[in-house]
Amino acid sequence: MSLLGNWLAAKNVAQSVVDGPVLAKLNQWRDLPEADLSGPLDRQRWLVVDVETTGLDMHRDQLLAIGAVVVEGRLIQLDQSFEVVLRQDAPSREANILIHRIAGGEQVDGIEPAEALASFLEFAQKLPCVAFHAAFDETMLRRACRGHLGIDFSPQFVDLAHLAPALFPEAPSALRSLDDWVAYFSIGIHARHRAVADALGTAQLFQALLARATERNIASAQKLFSMARDQRWLAGLAGR
């Protein structure tokens, strides 16, 4: 057993069986350098993620599916995308199934969580992440990675819910949800609440924001992060 395996065992890591290939992936991921956010914005590689869960409680509900799309050089490469459904011991409630449409059978037949998350990390590398209402996706992913892999997954997240109004102050202030914003840019989401389709819609929204950011001479990813943070702080002040 590797060092990492010992460490996982010592931490009494969850019910998952962490076998060889999973360990190899985790080792590889841990060895990756941290993301460099100082380069030109136009060449930055990003990971746009969306998660589906058994409910909206960030601290109790379970991660059901992860979808992710890579944006690089302001383009979405259609063959660089990721989707996985995590195996559940029992399918989620029916009302919830109606939202994400991951049927009970598919949930039970999903990939073993440790394996699914390790594959996700392999895909995600240490890219800066993008999500809409990012706190939710961030928390769900961090909890799952800690619980199933004993790993601290904490990349930088840029939250489009804050970045969008910051870059498009002319948009109506009533725009709040992902649905509102994709409609504003006439983005069609192929299958809303399928993780990878939502990630694609989010990535398209991000493309529109990147185009505007370039127009505004925002030159690096670092600047984009601070812009989103400032907006969040402002929104907090305004009680938004």
Binding site: L75, I76, L78, S186, A197, Q204, A211, R212
Partner: protein, 650 residues
């Protein structure tokens, strides 16, 4: 590290592409390949998607969402876009194939997403996918075929008989042809025909190339009456140079040739080899309404009622052919063939009641009839040339011709060709002239080049001999050809006139609609005025300038093209565009607006249409494929107009 494509993202991209031609006709495997090679890009409203000039284009753009316009760099923004592209449309295909920079600058008119496919993958798709290659190299023709095929599919699913007249000849060949060498004695051929119970044999050389045909009907004429001995070689009794068509030609084309030339067999060839013979009887068994039978009933019509009935049958058959997806060119040729026969019979009936003087004369079809482009709603445009005997009183001869023409015009009216509102008919003494008077009239128009002259020229210069002494029409045509060159101002005025009407292709998602002169047809465009006329006018001018004597628009373009150094493909695309607009007019006249919400192509009668105008359609009622073809067709009309400007304007 290899990345795992999420199957659902590729699948959703494929679904998205599949909603549009040509992707809907491509295999799953190549779509999978294309989708996995694509990236998705965003262009803010107003942003340049692709600039003209610069480096050769390195990728194909497919609009995923939004609207893109392409403009020539020299054109001011308010002049309107050369083309607008919406969801599913590809650009810049021509530049990619030629590996050159884009001619147009493409700009996002709305927030737009485009799929991008790298050049190498575009080329790979061209190599492995026939539908994609067809689309890229012969865009309009390929789209047209697709539209027609879907009409045909709808038709064949409606009728039990799977053989429509649009099926290929090959589909009804039941056995290999019986052939004989040219030196076989007549007797032996007759014995073979009797033994095999066949109505015809084909005489071929040693390489199986057909030399002639011999049919049972030839026994009387070519053997018995011609006094040919039974031991003479068959080559002396055969009909040489038999009519042949390629195996992929439509049954309809064979039927039309039979109706026009009055023969009963057509040879079917494939790659230079004879593969079968199709007889009139083979076609009759397929179609209750047959061309041959209608042609016969026209020929044998003993009175106006019978002729009027036959004319009604022509319209019914035209409707049936239209529903079967027969193309506009063949359909209008067919309508013309039979209408010519009706005119011929009407003249014969008129001659019984009021015989024309016994001097050379020729009945001319003008306008669309002269161009062989009659649609289903067509009124009369005709005229008459005669040559009085020397020393006779021209006025008296004319009077007799006018009486004859008046009969003929009224008979045609009863047969469904309404009298011309502008009185452009042979019974009008202004249009019943001697050859010398016609030359004088045409000469006057050429010299004056005023509005009336141009208007008349647009109708009369498309004349064609319908009946009588065709040599008179030919000598008038020759005279016109020889004299027009001496009147450059006339041609220039014609060009100015032709450029007054611009095919509508605005900045909006689809078309600028003209709504009718008084706004009585909101949301529609006039396909005659804005659709076919630009082609017709330009073709007439090019024919006059380059000495092309044909009167048909497609023929004029095809024949003038080499003389104006226009590439064959370019001319073909223009002709296809013209025929598509013509097809839409025909469908529209046939029964309602061309539209079918779900399947591609097709049209349905719309009982609720408030005002039905024979040449007006509402582009929104067209299905997506037809709307794209119409756009492309109108773009071809614009191209032809640009060529006019280039060639004539200083």
């Amino acid at each position: 590290m290899p990345l795992q494509p999420a199957p659902s993202l590729i699948a959703s991209t494929i679904d998205d592409l599949r909603r549009h031609a040509p992707f809907d006709a491509m295999d799953a495997a190549i779509l999978q390949y294309i989708a996995s090679r694509m990236s998705l890009a965003y262009f803010a409203r107003g942003a340049t998607v692709l600039a003209s000039g610069g480096a050769p284009v390195s990728q194909l753009f497919v609009v995923q969402k939004g609207l893109v316009s392409g403009m020539e760099p020299s054109v001011a923004a308010d002049e309107g876009a050369a083309l607008t592209l919406s969801e599913g449309e590809c650009f810049p295909v021509g530049a990619l194939i030629a590996q050159r920079p884009s001619v147009l600058t493409f700009t996002a008119r709305e927030d737009t997403f485009c799929y991008l496919l790298p050049l190498t993958d575009f080329e790979h798709a061209m190599d492995v996918s026939r539908p994609f290659r067809d689309f890229a190299t012969r865009r309009i023709a390929a789209l047209l075929e697709q539209s027609q095929r879907s009409v045909q599919r709808q038709y064949t699913s409606r009728v039990s008989d799977a053989h429509s007249l649009a099926s290929p000849l090959k589909s009804i060949i039941r056995r290999p042809p019986v052939t004989v060498p040219p030196d076989v004695p007549v007797r032996q051929v007759l014995e073979t025909m009797k033994a095999l119970r066949i109505g015809s044999v084909v005489v071929t050389d040693t390489a199986q190339r057909p030399l002639g045909i011999f049919t049972e009907r030839d026994v009387l004429d070519r053997i018995a009456l011609a006094g040919i001995a039974q031991d003479a070689p068959i080559e002396r009794a055969m009909t040489p140079n038999p009519f042949a068509l390629q195996s992929h030609a439509a049954l309809f084309e064979a039927a039309q040739a039979m109706a026009r030339h009055r023969f009963r067999h057509v040879l079917v060839m494939e790659e230079g080899r004879l593969i079968g013979v199709v007889s009139e009887r083979d076609l009759f068994t397929l179609q209750r309404l047959s061309l041959g039978e209608i042609a016969k009933s026209i020929e044998q019509a003993g009175d106006v009622d019978a002729l009027s009935h036959a004319s009604h049958e022509v319209r019914r058959l035209a409707a049936a052919l239209l529903a079967q997806g027969v193309g506009a060119e063949q359909l209008t040729q067919f309508v013309t063939t039979l209408n010519d026969a009706i005119a011929g019979r009407a003249l014969a009936l008129a001659a019984e009641a009021s015989p024309p003087p016994d001097v050379p004369w020729c009945w001319l079809g003008l306008g669309s009839e002269g161009r062989m482009e009659q649609t289903l709603a067509t009124d009369q445009d005709n005229a008459l040339i005669f040559v009085p005997a020397a020393g006779t009183d021209v006025a008296a001869v004319r009077q007799s011709f006018l009486a004859f023409a008046d009969h003929a015009n009224r008979i045609l009216d009863q047969c469904g060709f309404p009298l011309c509102k502008g009185d452009i008919m042979a019974r009008n003494s202004r249009w019943c002239l001697t050859l010398a008077e016609w030359q004088e009239t045409f000469g006057h128009w050429l010299r004056s080049a005023n509005g009336d002259a141009l208007l008349n020229a647009a109708i009369f210069f498309d004349f064609r001999a319908l009946h009588g002494d065709a040599a008179l029409a030919q000598s008038l045509r020759d005279w016109l050809g020889a004299h027009v060159a001496a009147h450059p101002l006339f041609l220039l005025q014609m060009v100015n006139n032709a450029l007054q009407v611009r095919p509508p292709l605005g900045l909006l998602r689809d078309f600028v609609k003209d709504d009718g002169d008084d706004g009585e047809f909101p949301g529609t465009i006039d396909l005659k005025k804005y659709g076919t006329r630009p082609f017709v006018d330009a073709a007439r001018i090019f024919a006059l300038k380059h000495g092309v004597t044909a009167s048909n628009t497609a023929e004029r373009i095809r024949l003038a093209a080499p003389r104006m150094r226009m590439h064959e493909d370019e001319a073909a695309a223009i002709v296809d565009g013209f025929h598509f607009v013509q097809l839409l007019r025909l469908r529209n006249q046939e029964g309602g607006n061309a539209s079918a919400p779900a399947p591609l192509g097709g049209y349905q009668a719309d009982a609720e249409a408030p005002l039905h105008h024979p040449n007006r359609i509402d582009p929104d009622q067209l299905n997506e494929l037809d709307r794209r073809i119409l756009k492309e067709a109108l773009r071809q009309a614009r191209k032809l107009q640009s060529r006019l400007e280039l060639d004539f304007k200083p």
